[in-house]
């Protein structure tokens, strides 16, 4: 069981900054994120896009912003449960919560801060009528364990980076790799496109374009896919695995069943402290809604800051505290580091 003061669900910019603000109040944080790396949308969807409305940064790439937030939070030694989705919440008699992920990891916490953005990123599933019948029977939307494909026949569909990268990677593991895309053009990084071209020329990847997978074949498990090449009759490609890689789309997911007040796919909060209708559970950043809400990173930072003050008062109802400026008090990291303004030099002029 992982124990913490504040359990942050979502390791995007708002979640990461919460670690810093909580750290100033000597509160320890742990983050859960469905993605395998921190940064949320900034690192998953648009790491190379510049952002122009972060105060004091005339321009910063989303990926760089994430790195700076991680660097800023590091001194407060946050814990991470990555690649797992927060599934259930149970309130305990001692007023703490236990949050369990889809992989069964349990977290005990005094405060829950939902900073889940638009939700957890789930794979987009192609519209193939019988595909659901074969999920986990040869159809996988995410590659978790590449060894599963050793010496197997694999069909990948999609035209972005993940389809290209996995086709390249699996060409060394699987007995056959077929890549199917609706267009002849691929959107991935130039390196990846060139590598796939090279592997195709070597006969290590079979490329079928412009084409689409129209059906999955098999009884208990996948034995092949029906492929329609634009303007031609459909044909069958033998396969042990079919891996559609069409990107990720955010879904509020299990959090929607936690008994929280939801409006327009967002969690309603009180703007006093961004607490939800469940005392001790807060929602900050893009995941919340209130009159006048704007989904901006800078608003998420503000909400995180106010939320931490409220969390402190909830954890220590009788302990006095007033907000201190970091310029005055410096920053004491949990890792033993201390940052402070240099002392004034007093020296007489002779």
């Amino acid at each position: 069981m992982i124990t913490t003061d504040i359990l942050i669900i979502g390791a995007g910019p708002t979640g990461l900054f919460t670690v810093f603000e909580a750290g100033l109040l000597k509160l320890k944080c742990h983050l859960i994120d469905a993605l395998p790396q921190p940064g949320g949308q900034c690192s998953e969807i648009y790491p190379k896009k510049p952002i122009y409305d972060i105060p004091a940064y005339p321009e910063i790439l989303a990926g760089d912003l994430t790195q700076k937030l991680i660097e800023q939070s590091k001194q407060f030694e946050p814990g991470f449960t990555l690649g797992e989705r927060a599934e259930t919440i149970e309130k305990q008699e001692n007023e703490t919560f236990i949050v369990t992920t889809n992989k069964g990891t349990k977290h005990q916490t005094k405060i829950v801060a939902i900073a889940g953005g638009l939700g957890s990123f789930e794979p987009r599933k192609p519209l193939i009528p019988n595909i659901a019948d074969f999920e986990d029977k040869g159809v996988e939307y995410i590659i978790k364990e590449p060894e599963l494909y050793r010496d197997k026949k694999v069909v990948i569909s999609g035209g972005g980076d993940s389809a290209l990268d996995w086709a390249i990677f699996l060409s060394n593991i699987a007995s056959e790799v077929t890549l199917i895309h609706r267009r002849n053009e691929f959107r991935g990084a130039l390196d990846s496109v060139e590598k796939v071209q090279e592997l195709k020329n070597l006969g290590k990847i079979r490329l079928i374009t412009p084409a689409e997978v129209r059906g999955v074949l098999g009884t208990d498990k996948v034995t092949g896919v029906a492929v329609e090449k634009i303007g031609e009759d459909s044909f069958i490609v033998d396969a042990d695995h079919f891996i559609p890689l069409f990107g990720l789309s955010p879904k509020l997911g299990p959090i929607g069943n936690w008994g929280l007040s939801i409006e327009k796919n967002a969690i309603k909060v009180d703007t006093f402290d961004y607490q939800t209708n469940i005392p001790g559970v807060y929602a900050i950043g893009d995941v919340n809604t209130y009159p006048g809400k704007l989904k901006l990173i800078l608003c998420g930072f503000h909400e995180a800051t106010l939320m931490c003050q409220s969390a402190y008062k909830r954890i220590f109802p009788n302990k006095k505290y007033v907000m201190k400026y970091t310029t005055v008090g410096g920053v004491d990291g949990f890792d033993g580091t201390r940052k402070e303004a240099p002392k004034a030099v007093v020296k007489a002029i002779e």
Binding site: I45, R124, L127, R183, R187, S249, A266
Partner: protein, 109 residues
């Protein structure tokens, strides 16, 4: 600057005549959101970077729209429910030339 009229059929099949400003650098996805014609969180997920296709629509009027960029084209190549007249709403800027545009929002996917 002049306002323009756009006819938008929402995902439930209801058609709305809306007025859109042409001087606020707005795109069709933002017009849909500003009139709340699709539920928040189901449209404009990537914010308008042609990176999610949640604002896909079918253009049914005979307007000549600006050409599809490589980004938009690549995204449509991976989207679902795509038809010949599919476009991403976030890539259609509100300009006087598209006055009278008619679109149908594609299903959520």
């Amino acid at each position: 600057m002049q306002d323009i009229n756009i006819k938008i059929t929402d995902r439930n099949g209801a058609t709305h005549d809306v007025v859109a400003p042409t001087d606020m650098a707005m795109n069709l996805m933002e017009i849909v959101r500003s009139y709340e014609l699709a539920e928040e969180g189901t449209i404009g997920i990537c914010g308008g970077m042609a990176m999610c296709a949640s604002c896909q629509c079918y253009v049914t009027s005979d307007h000549s729209l600006p050409e599809i960029s490589d980004d938009e084209d690549a995204m449509l190549a991976e989207a679902f429910h795509v038809e010949d007249n599919s476009r991403l709403g976030c890539q259609i800027q509100m300009t006087p030339e598209i006055n009278g545009l008619e679109v149908i929002l594609a299903p959520e996917s």
